[in-house]
């Protein structure tokens, strides 16, 4: 259908966005008999927002469920969430998302999603997370197929530029496709268009000019256009508007959409220096999955938002390979040259580190207590001298995963206006995740929020109309 034909019709439910949450909403609404229009800003090959980069779904289960082993109860799940958010969550919404995740998994399977046992290198998640066969893009493809079969209509490369509200009631959306614009009316709308991390100007305004040096791990199409439009119209927000979730990734990654392959797991076995060749934080503070997320911030605070992780040949095979081969040299001076670091300073740093390394047994998979002596900052585990050439170096940069600012919703996913809930506007996914995930991140939880709230939003929107 052309934009003109789309605009000539009145839609029961319009969904802004084309990722996991949007598709769950569209499928639920269509199954209730609604005529559904999905408006995806990305072109077809990039459809699916950040969902196309995901790979797992964190799921409560009271006993073995599909590929999930053992059990993972509501309280344990909620405790895990409390630990990462440090209490910055809405307990009611969080517990609801957790409880509903259990019935969501069979629903996903019934709508074309296939799961596989935990991927190699992710055994620590095999009880808590179900992995998508083929990853997030396979999930997105399956949902598009299911939605198409239900008669859902899609517009690609089309931006929702404005949501028309009359008081607390949604009436229509303005769409922009290439140079063409149109106003399309609907009886209900589900906002599932993600955060704003793709808009570097906004990021720079929120975080500071350093944000221009950040890499964006996911889609460039999450520019927060709908989020901004709704906030400008007085809807209530949640989440810290200045914060984003960032991890340290390979500094050579593309500006956008580098995804999973740009992650680097070498930090605990390395020394990390800034561009002046100086260490700045304890690389061995904890096992990597638990420290993965803080390094984004640490690197962001260094000059030019860049750091360098240095290992020797002993550690080469201790971590998952990255997509880019490391810089390699036979001497530390040579490596400094290849990485563009001051050679004398780097040698001093490495020598001081080596001199502070104790004797003792090195255990890469557990906290081995092998800590430096008299070094500041210390390295409190896996402190093994960097001596055996060849030496390897990786550049690190902050990679933004998502932003926290979002729309406030209630337990029916309804968006909250300045004074009361909007009558026919729902939100799901990253655009409202800040309600539950105030800070930090829990692997697989973004997909839980998207799926649970997407389904609720779709059902609620359809029941409102039909």
């Amino acid at each position: 259908m052309t934009l003109e034909m789309i605009a000539a019709r009145h839609w029961d439910v319009i969904v802004a966005g084309g990722g996991n949450a949007a598709l769950c909403a569209a499928i639920e609404a269509a199954e209730k008999g609604a005529r559904v229009l999905v408006v995806e800003a990305a072109p077809l090959p990039y459809r699916g927002g950040n969902s196309r980069h995901t790979r797992n779904f964190r799921c409560m289960h009271r006993g073995p469920l599909s590929v999930l082993t053992g059990s993972y109860g509501e309280d344990e799940y909620f405790d895990d969430l409390l630990r990462v958010t440090k209490g910055d969550t809405d307990e009611g919404l969080a517990r609801m998302a957790i409880r509903l995740s259990e019935e969501a998994l069979p629903w996903m399977e019934a709508h074309g999603i296939r799961f596989q046992p935990s991927l190699s290198g992710t055994l620590s998640l095999s009880r808590t997370n179900a992995f998508f066969l083929g990853g997030g893009k396979a999930l997105v493809n399956a949902y598009y197929r299911t939605a198409e079969d239900l008669g859902v209509q899609f517009l690609y490369e089309t931006q929702v530029t404005h949501v028309h509200l009359a008081g607390d009631r949604f009436e229509a959306v303005d769409l922009l496709c290439a140079e063409e614009t149109a106003t399309v009316s609907g009886s209900a709308i589900v906002l599932a268009s993600g955060g704003f991390q793709g808009d570097l100007d906004w990021l720079a305004k929120a975080w500071g000019p350093a944000a221009r040096n950040f890499l964006i791990r996911g889609t460039p199409y999450n520019r927060g256009v709908v989020l901004r439009d709704m906030l400008d119209q007085g809807t209530q927000s949640v989440g810290d508007p200045t914060q984003c979730h960032a991890v340290a990734i390979d500094g050579r990654a593309p500006k956008f959409d580098g995804g999973i392959v740009t992650r680097l797991d070498c930090v605990p076995f390395s020394v990390v220096v800034n561009k002046d060749g100086e260490r700045f934080y304890d690389e061995g503070e904890d096992v990597w999955p638990k420290r993965y997320a803080i390094w984004g911030r640490l690197v962001a605070a260094q000059p030019d938002q860049v750091a360098f992780s240095i290992i020797d040949s002993k550690s080469r095979d201790l971590f998952m390979p990255s997509v880019y081969p490391p810089e390699t040299a036979e001497t530390i001076d040579g490596l400094a040259q290849r990485l563009g670091l001051p050679g004398v300073k780097l040698r001093e740093t490495v020598e001081a580190f080596n001199a502070a390394c104790p004797d003792g047994a090195f255990h890469p998979t557990e906290l081995d207590g092998l800590a430096t002596e008299g070094l500041s900052p210390p390295k409190t585990n896996w402190a093994r001298p960097i001596l055996e050439p060849p030496f390897y170096g990786y550049a690190l940069r902050p990679g933004v995963t998502f932003t926290y600012l979002g729309l406030k919703v209630d337990d029916t996913a309804r968006v909250q206006g300045a004074r009361r809930a909007l009558k026919n506007v729902w939100a799901a996914g990253e655009i409202m995740a800040g309600s539950i995930l105030g800070q930090g991140y829990l692997a697989g939880f973004g997909m839980t929020i998207g799926t649970v709230f997407g389904r609720i939003a779709g059902r609620e929107a359809a029941s409102h109309v039909i």
Binding site: P45, Q116, S120, L133, G134, A138, R145, V261, D317
Partner: protein, 360 residues
């Protein structure tokens, strides 16, 4: 690391990216095999390339396909490396370049085969029964024994070269059993969970290709069993053709012919719906011609049986035997070779899985 050819260099580039991602682990044997390694030599890539069944699941699931700058298209990269490996292993390689790539060359081989058989029938009239009324058994053997055995010798040489390049070890019965099971069930076209592959309708999973391939290979094997049983009856028991409808050659041959015909023409039809850019694009013609030749072999065999006692027999006999001749003679150089190398790759994969304890 440097590689001997551009296809291997490109395969290595893509495999490194896959190895850092691993989302596709559950689709087929290629990924577990890949994830056992950190670095890849030419032999490793050749093994992965021949293990790949081109089910395309990984392509449609991939977040790094074009227009992404990583430009992943693993099915095509491995198909190119595979094509190159067969040309490298075949002797003489020039023939491989001809029959793999060119539908016209396969068609020409067919015409040549048919003409040859017509000429043979005309030149040497005989007075036997059934087919042998048109062409003596001795003449058939004189043509087909070498036409069957010579290509097998050439393929054997190629397999030895393959085995050396991928670092294969002494084959155990258990390796053959594991490989045989994978081949018999086409496990690597199952999508990992029985949903099938992505082929004729982009990212939608279906088992159409898997089942058509099953029909083709089982049909081919039944036809082969039919001919073999005829040979045994002829030499071992002095029972000469024509055989009755309840004889072994017919009991194998008729269902075999039906399966082969349906399977092969079905695969050719499916090929017209699939995206050629996810395979070795230049091979499209050669591959399609090969699968049509297979179908023609089955169909003409059935037609010949149906025409028993009519005046159409000599012409059909020439066409059928001509097709068989073309199929045999081009075996080491056409898509037919894939069956041999694919099986070798499955055997090698079983060996590696056994050694590393990562049988999947």
């Amino acid at each position: 690391m440097s590689f001997e050819t551009p296809a291997l260099t490109e395969a290595a580039r893509q495999v490194q990216i896959c190895n850092a991602c691993r989302y596709c682990e559950g689709y087929c044997s290629v990924f577990p095999a890949m994830f056992r390694e950190r670095t890849f030599a030419s032999g490793d890539l050749t093994q992965l390339a021949n293990l790949c069944h081109n089910c395309r699941g990984c392509y449609y699931a991939c977040q790094y396909t074009e227009p992404h700058e990583f430009a992943l298209n693993l099915p095509a990269a491995l198909a190119e490396a595979r094509r190159e490996s067969w040309e490298r292993f075949a002797w003489p390689g020039a023939l491989s370049r001809l029959f793999q790539r060119s539908g016209v060359a396969v068609a020409a081989a067919l015409v040549l085969g048919v003409v040859l058989l017509f000429a043979a029938i005309r030149a040497v009239p005989d007075t036997g029964d059934g087919f042998y009324a048109y062409m003596s058994h001795a003449l058939m053997v004189a043509i087909f024994a070498p036409a069957f055995l010579a290509p097998l010798v050439v393929i054997g040489v190629g397999l030895r070269r393959y085995w050396a390049e991928v670092g294969g070890q002494r084959v155990r019965w258990s390796d053959l059993r594991d490989a045989g099971r994978s081949a018999a069930t086409m496990r690597n076209l199952s999508g990992g969970q029985g949903q099938g592959c992505n082929f004729e309708d982009e990212d939608r999973f279906t088992n159409t290709r898997r089942y058509l391939h099953q029909a083709t290979i089982w049909g081919f094997l039944l036809c082969f069993a039919s001919t073999s049983s005829g040979t045994v009856l002829h030499y071992g028991f002095g029972l000469e053709a024509p055989y009755g409808p309840l004889s072994l050659p017919k009991l194998f041959g008729v269902p075999g012919g039906v399966l082969l015909t349906v399977g092969a023409f079905g695969l050719a039809w499916l090929k017209t719906k699939a995206d050629p850019a996810l395979g070795a694009a230049h091979l499209w013609g050669g591959e399609t011609a090969f699968v049509l030749l297979l179908g023609l072999t089955g169909a003409t065999g059935l037609a010949l049986y149906a025409a028993t006692g009519t005046s159409a027999v000599p012409a059909l006999l020439a066409i059928h035997l001509g097709a068989v001749l073309a199929l045999f003679l081009t075996t080491p150089y056409s898509k037919m070779a894939h069956g041999f190398y694919r099986f070798a790759a499955l055997v090698r994969d079983a060996q590696i899985a056994r050694r590393t304890g990562t049988a999947d």
